[in-house]
């Protein structure tokens, strides 16, 4: 991803979208490392996303139910404790079961490279580690939204 996209740039792109984008930020499992998601949520808010937060210690059922109740466009999953290969697929499974698999799912946290293709194969993309520029994360989400939700064949 090219650097140099800043908050102002994203704000303008997001403003032009046909609807307000709602993102559920969720931390499944017993994982309280929430600094990253709090930073991310403030950035999401500042670029113009509407943000819903699961709080820590959310179960997979709670996350999927919140996503459906709140009618979110994106779920951003965070896992810093090595349990991503358990919880991320469980979220995907549950979404499918509930017929909500149009929701875009992205992930992040401490995710070893070798797990990334496995997660991507089931639809959890991004999977960025700590220290990833916030613009990279927002660009990734916007790319997926444009392509999958708004069927616009261009990149941010």
């Amino acid at each position: 991803m090219e650097r140099g996209r800043n908050l102002q740039y994203f704000r303008e792109v997001i403003n032009k979208l046909p609807k307000r984008i709602k993102v559920l930020v969720a931390k499944p499992g017993l994982d309280a490392h929430d600094r990253g998601v709090h930073v991310l949520m403030r950035y999401f808010r500042d670029v113009g996303f509407e943000v819903v937060y699961s709080g820590i210690l959310a179960t997979v059922d709670e996350i999927v139910q919140t996503a459906i109740d709140e009618d979110v466009d994106v779920i951003a999953l965070s896992s810093m404790n090595g349990a991503h290969m358990v919880h991320f697929p469980a979220v995907i499974e549950k979404l499918r079961e509930k017929g909500a698999n149009d929701i875009i799912v992205v992930g992040g946290g401490i995710i070893p490279d070798e797990d990334k293709p496995k997660l991507e194969a089931i639809g959890v993309t991004g999977n960025y580690g700590p220290g990833t520029p916030l613009e990279t994360i927002v660009s990734h989400i916007l790319d997926r939204l444009l392509r999958e939700k708004f069927k616009i064949d261009s990149k941010v």
Binding site: R35, N81, A83, H87, I110, P112, D113, G129, G131
Partner: protein, 594 residues
């Protein structure tokens, strides 16, 4: 549901102390200490002014500086240079004094590292208790002098390895301990009277302490000879690390019971390690780490005093745990300020007279958040600098992070480098020969004083909010920390702050270093083990013991430590005990800090 309120636990202490201290600090700045000649110091002030206008300003006009403003990581604005004029108000004997002398700014012991070097204490734990037992022995063989145990997430939250909540998390971020059986395996062939052990556990700390005592008993080691630390600092859990089981007041009641028990039975045990580490890692700056941690400490002092304990005695068992991160001088100043504030407040506000009870003894860990997954070998350098700051700040023990920790739990190779880093500082640099060698640096003394003032500003604010427990329930420290984390992240994002390998000097092809893997079989093994235990133990005895535990949870006048000790010896599990607490007290939902 039993509701405990903070007025049940914390007596009223007079208000207004913090504001007075803050005003005192500010007004003191105008004085000239007896060390300086008034005329000479004013001459120096004038000379600095002239240097600025005649030498420095014209110079930077021609050669502009790299930034329009220089500041510390916590945002304290910095002058280009500091002189005696900046510390003219500091009185040597009153503010610094000698090592081992009040207010202990220069160190808690008279000879510091000339007597004994700091303890090398590497935090470790993963997989089954047998896996961690092996790693502990490995560390002891490589010159480590104290053990430090990391528990897995289910243990930290008080769930057994066979709980549905534990699924996917057993043995991942630390060692899994659900019962005495696990604890016995963890310390197998490690004589508990010959090591000091630090256990990083908070919400279920009372159960883990009971387990440790029970293992010692089985080894034939009497309880009063046990030496070590249990973290048991629940306030910073609500502020930062967020591993709680019950509402704050219920946890404080349990801590009070532990204080009473340990005061009576465990003279060498530190039963609360008041922790700034997690506060810092959660995004706080140095000022916030200093202020929130010490305020937590004062709250525990008030908790003990409200229970009728004598701070001259119990305060000797309180220890601290700080972070050391990359702003080298600010970190050193922070450690020095912490010692001075603690001693001053304990003496002035809580009337402590026993010198040993005024000492702020602390463990330091280098900052995990400062490590990057990019170019991970750079982390060795970061950790070395942070470790040096901790040593120059007078730490009593130190954990150095391994360079691969932004990627995974540390590999053995990386742990050895971390231990060697401390050994190099200890033996090759000669920094341990002179006590508090940075004292008297105009900058370090000025900054120490400044951090102290900023801490008092926070103490005053927290008192205004009704004390630390109320502030936490309002989400105040949590919000302050997250706002700072966001500010810091945006500075990196906008390249105002440079992190090597992250937003500058980026490598094209990143090589992934050797990644440590936990064994996926651990969860299965641990689940089977606990299920077998539940069938083989004397379940009648367990049931009776748990009923006693319930009675003590329900009646805050009964000390919980005794029935819990009895229950763990009967092989009641961690979760069986914690679930009773959850039934009696309910759980906790944090206030929104969005």
């Amino acid at each position: 549901m039993l509701v405990i309120t903070s007025s049940d636990l914390l007596k009223d202490f007079p208000k207004g102390y913090w504001k007075r201290k803050l005003e005192e600090k500010i007004s003191k700045r105008n004085r000239i200490s007896g060390l300086y000649n008034k005329e000479e110091i004013e001459k120096l002030g004038d000379a600095e002014y002239r240097w600025r206008s005649e030498v420095y300003e014209p110079w930077i006009k021609e050669k502009p500086e790299r930034k329009s403003k220089f500041e510390t990581a916590s945002g304290i604005e910095l002058k280009p240079i500091y002189t005696p004029y900046d510390i003219k108000h500091i009185d040597y004997l009153e503010d610094l004094n000698f090592p081992g002398c009040y207010p202990y700014t220069r160190g808690v012991y008279p000879s510091m590292y000339r007597g004994r070097l700091w303890t090398i204490r590497e935090f470790s734990g993963f997989g089954t208790p047998e896996d961690t037992n092996k790693r502990l022995k490995f560390l002891l063989e490589h010159g480590e002098t104290g053990l430090s145990i990391a528990f897995d997430m289910p243990t930290l939250y008080g769930y057994d390895s066979d709980s549905p909540r534990a699924f996917g998390e057993v043995g991942k971020m630390g060692v899994s301990v659900s019962s005495l059986q696990d604890m016995e395996a963890l310390f197998k062939d490690i004589p508990l009277d010959q090591v000091t052990t630090s256990m990083t556990i908070n919400a279920p700390a009372i159960v883990l302490l009971a387990l440790y005592i029970a293992v010692a008993e089985k080894q034939g080691v009497p309880i009063h000879r046990l030496s070590g630390t249990i973290q048991n600092d629940i306030l910073k859990e609500y502020i930062a690390q967020k591993e709680w089981a019950f509402p704050p007041e219920a946890h404080l009641r349990i801590i009070r019971d532990m204080m009473e028990f340990c005061s009576k039975n465990m003279p060498k045990w530190n039963y609360i390690s008041i922790s700034g580490y997690h506060i810092r890692e959660a995004g706080a700056n140095a000022i916030q780490e200093l202020a929130f941690t010490l305020m937590d400490g004062f709250t525990y002092v008030e908790l003990g005093m409200s229970a009728g304990l004598d701070p001259n005695e119990f305060a000797t068992r309180l220890s601290f745990f700080f972070n050391s991160t990359m702003d080298f001088f600010e970190e050193i100043a922070k450690f020095r300020a912490a010692r001075r504030i603690w001693a001053t407040v304990l003496k002035e506000r809580y009337g402590v007279k026993n010198p040993r009870a005024l000492l702020l003894r602390f463990h330091t860990q280098t900052s995990g958040a400062s490590l990057t997954w990019q170019q991970p070998l750079n982390n060795i350098v970061r950790t070395a600098i942070e470790a040096l700051a901790a040593v120059l700040g007078g730490t009593q023990s130190l954990h150095t992070n391994s360079y691969d920790e932004a990627l995974c739990l540390p590999t053995e190779e990386a742990v050895v480098v971390a231990v060697r880093t401390q050994q190099i500082i200890a033996h090759e640099t000669n920094v341990a020969s002179v006590i508090d060698p940075l004292a008297g640096s105009y900058y370090v003394e000025w900054l120490t004083d400044k951090l102290e003032e900023e801490a008092y500003r926070y103490f005053d604010k927290i008192e205004e909010l009704g004390g630390m427990v109320e502030a936490i329930k309002k989400g105040y420290p949590q919000k302050e920390i997250i706002e700072n984390a966001y500010r810091q992240a945006m500075k990196v994002e906008n390249k105002e702050d440079i992190i090597v390998g992250v937003n500058e000097y980026i490598a094209k092809d990143e090589r992934i270093v050797n990644v440590f893997k936990t064994n996926p079989e651990v969860e299965k093994k641990q689940r089977e083990r606990i299920q077998k235990l539940k069938q083989s133990r004397d379940n009648k005895k367990v049931k009776e013991a748990l009923e006693e535990v319930r009675r003590a949870f329900e009646d805050p006048s009964i000390n919980l430590m005794y029935p819990i000790l009895k229950a763990v010896k009967a092989y009641a599990t961690l979760q069986e005990i914690m679930d009773i607490g959850r039934e009696v007290y309910g759980t906790w939902k944090e206030p929104s800090i969005l």
